[in-house]
């Protein structure tokens, strides 16, 4: 019988997980504005601020308008993302993402204007270089923030902890070796995300070729390829449960989740709705701070993790998976092995 999904929300991450990205956002805004202000006498009266699909400047603003707009964008959007991370207790992911976004926007917006120093005709200003540098800055800052704020150690499950009533477990002697293999349930034909991603990637490349601005559209094509490639790997994920823990690998090779037995307190069934509970499908953070590989509505394996938020996996045969986990962690922690069967 699946257990209700309600549980205690995940604990807030330490303060620095929020403060460091906040500092980065402030640095991006302040640094970008200061840099632009320092070269104000070298900038054209009308600064190019918008470009068409072919990369030709078609929108212009004064320095004051540029400063106000760029400060607003570089402040509001990253702060909104950081706020969302706080609300969802997902600051360890959304904190670095907000910092990366601030860096991207700062380089694109302030940097794009900065690059127009000494230009006689703003209509000739390009945006290709600024866009590439912006993507690079966003990724570099985002990854760096993640490295700085990520969790260093995982708390271990308390030894000797008993399973909750009704938790499935296998009635097998202690000498029996147990493992479970399966996959995430597939909600749609896996060709759907592949096809959609392919259309977007090829469409971006085609647009770049058609407009003679391939350098402008290649980063967009690369991002579509990465996003849909990852989504496809998530849908085609294989899950293994054994003495080494719970592991999910996209396409059998891309590591999506690795949870050692020592970090698991118990496993139960839960009913999840990816859209309602996680806002979508794939590797997702839940609105209550939980995490999951959620690909279809229905029964899921719910792992209660020591000192961390629960983790959900919408695997095939979740009941057997939960029983296997509980049996293995019982042996791992030395708790009694002969229990009622699932």
């Amino acid at each position: 019988m699946p257990t209700p999904r309600g549980h205690q929300p995940a604990e807030l991450a330490p303060a620095h997980v929020t403060l460091v990205p906040l500092a980065v956002i402030a640095a991006c805004v302040g640094g970008g504005a200061a840099l632009l202000w320092s070269v104000r006498d070298e900038l054209p009266t009308q600064i190019a601020t918008h470009w068409d699909a072919a990369g030709r400047a078609d929108g212009f603003s004064t320095l004051t308008e540029v400063l106000v707009t760029d400060v607003a964008f570089t402040t509001v959007m990253p702060l909104a993302l950081l706020g969302l991370g706080l609300a969802m207790r997902q600051t360890r992911v959304l904190g670095p993402t907000s910092g990366g976004l601030a860096a991207f926007l700062a380089v694109l917006l302030f940097g794009g204007a900065f690059a127009q120093r000494g230009i006689e005709a703003p209509s000739s200003a390009g945006v290709d270089l600024a866009l590439w540098l912006a993507y690079a800055a966003g990724i570099l800052v985002g990854v760096s923030l993640w490295l700085v704020t990520r969790r260093r150690t995982r708390p271990a499950a308390e030894p000797g902890l008993s399973l909750p009533p009704g938790a499935p477990v296998l009635a097998t002697p202690a000498t029996t070796k147990v493992a479970w293999t399966g996959s995430l349930r597939r909600p749609v034909n896996t060709l759907v995300p592949l096809g959609l991603g392919g259309v977007l990637v090829l469409g971006s490349v085609a647009l770049g070729v058609a407009t003679g601005a391939l350098a402008l559209w290649l980063p967009t094509a690369a991002i579509f390829a990465a996003v849909f490639g990852f989504l496809y790997a998530t849908i085609e994920a294989r899950v293994t449960i054994d003495a080494g823990g719970v592991r999910a690998r996209g396409l059998g090779v891309v590591p999506l989740a690795t949870i050692p037995l020592s970090a698991i307190e118990n496993a139960t069934l839960a009913h999840v709705d990816p859209l309602r509970d996680f806002g979508g499908w794939g590797l997702r953070g839940g609105f209550d701070g939980s995490w999951g590989l959620v690909t279809a509505k229905g029964d899921a394996l719910r792992l209660e993790r020591a000192g961390d938020s629960p983790y959900y996996l919408t695997v095939t045969d979740a009941a057997a998976a939960a029983a296997a986990v509980n049996t293995l962690i019982g042996r791992h922690s030395g708790v009694g092995e002969d229990r009622s069967s699932s």
Partner: protein
């Protein structure tokens, strides 16, 4: 699907692994067309020899439950899960008979008497 092997049981390990596959087919915890994990992966998870897993796969292949395809691995092809269930029961019966010292000929006579 669940894999269970007991090294202390009288049944050979490959036979126990084959029973795991038969049970999974019978219970429909693996679907027709689904690819089973590689012998190497199963062996690593259960800490057994990969050749033991391969032998189990060959056994259930000969029973018509899976196909072994080069480059694709073991694919479930059973369209008669009932057959897999019977094969599992037979395997368990043989193991129990062996445990009480009954030979296969004696077991065959017993089955003949029962039909």
């Amino acid at each position: 699907m669940l894999w269970q092997v007991d090294p202390s049981a009288p049944q050979p390990l490959y036979e126990q692994l084959a029973s795991s596959v038969r049970r999974a087919v019978a219970e429909e915890s693996v679907a027709v067309g689904e690819r089973l994990p590689s012998a190497k992966d199963v062996a690593a998870s259960l800490d057994v020899n990969p050749h033991t897993v391969l032998r189990a796969y060959q056994l259930v292949r000969d029973e018509g439950l899976i196909e072994l395809r080069r480059g694709r691995g073991a694919i479930v092809t059973a369209s008669h899960p009932g057959r897999g269930r019977v094969a599992t029961l037979v395997s368990e019966l043989v193991a129990e008979a062996s445990r009480v010292g009954m030979g296969r000929d004696d077991l065959a006579r017993l089955i003949q008497k029962g039909t």
